[in-house]
Symmetry: C2
Amino acid sequence: MIEQFQKLPGVGPKTAQRLALHVLKRPEAEAQALATALIEAKQQVGLCQVCFHFSADPVCEICRNPNRDDSTICVVADSRDVIALEKTREYRGKYHVLGGTIAPMEGIGPEQLHIQPLVQRVSQGTIKEVILAINPSVEGETTTMYVGQLIKPFTRVTRIAFGLPMGGDLEYADEVTLARALEGRRDLD
Amino acid sequence: MIEQFQKLPGVGPKTAQRLALHVLKRPEAEAQALATALIEAKQQVGLCQVCFHFSADPVCEICRNPNRDDSTICVVADSRDVIALEKTREYRGKYHVLGGTIAPMEGIGPEQLHIQPLVQRVSQGTIKEVILAINPSVEGETTTMYVGQLIKPFTRVTRIAFGLPMGGDLEYADEVTLARALEGRRDLD
């Protein structure tokens, strides 16, 4: 059991041992419940056929929601990013989860990601804007540029702003962030 | 000596004691050199008459530098911000240091800051752009809006971008930063 727990992200030998001892101390019904939850979730949760976000149904709740703006797609690398953006309660459009970023060093090329389905969604002609919300890492930039060029013929393509984080301090910002904040400056309303 | 060291920012009782013991162990010439440096710097370094950045001369090196763009002024709260922006080596214009941000709770109103001299600089008509590079705190936003409205009649006014810092991760960004990153999105080149 300790070995299995250790395979989870962020769980080292000590934490794994603590988790295992906890399970051993509790009634068997609890171990049973955890085991069932793991298997059921794994069996039932797949990827949304439209946006590739995790979903228990063939089409996820966000894609099915009629109150959300159908004409805007926010492209993210990972389902975690959908959850992060949903927490802001600012975005009312749909999503598209690529399932990673282009990383040739790790053998991840465009064909391993859900890029073709995105191009298909966008090529229908009903999408007014695609917002690329991909982390500003080297792989993220590559992916942004690659996807952007592919879908530009069909729609307006924007990307999220990079700059000083809220509550951030110029003095403590790294130089690249400051340079991007300067470069990305906007007219004051 | 320990008491005096403790008045410096970030120096607590223990550090102050460590600094003091260090001085006591070293030759007297070193203590003399530190004391002289303190007094000379304090006597010689004042504020640039033009931009209010720290300067040993009446007009600072940046303001005197003929290779820097005279038509752009970057407005910051503090001399530390000038140093941070200079490190990026991206900005080739001039600066204006306000000397703080508007903070009514602490009794700092616009008249305590170097705002009037900025208005005067800008009203000459030779400034093409003023970039407001003030931290995104409540006081910073107030100051940005106040200064912006004052100088807008004379020139183009921009502000630095707020959003995801470089190397940042959507998943770990706070919600306000993510909301600003979405709101501040730009067309992909």
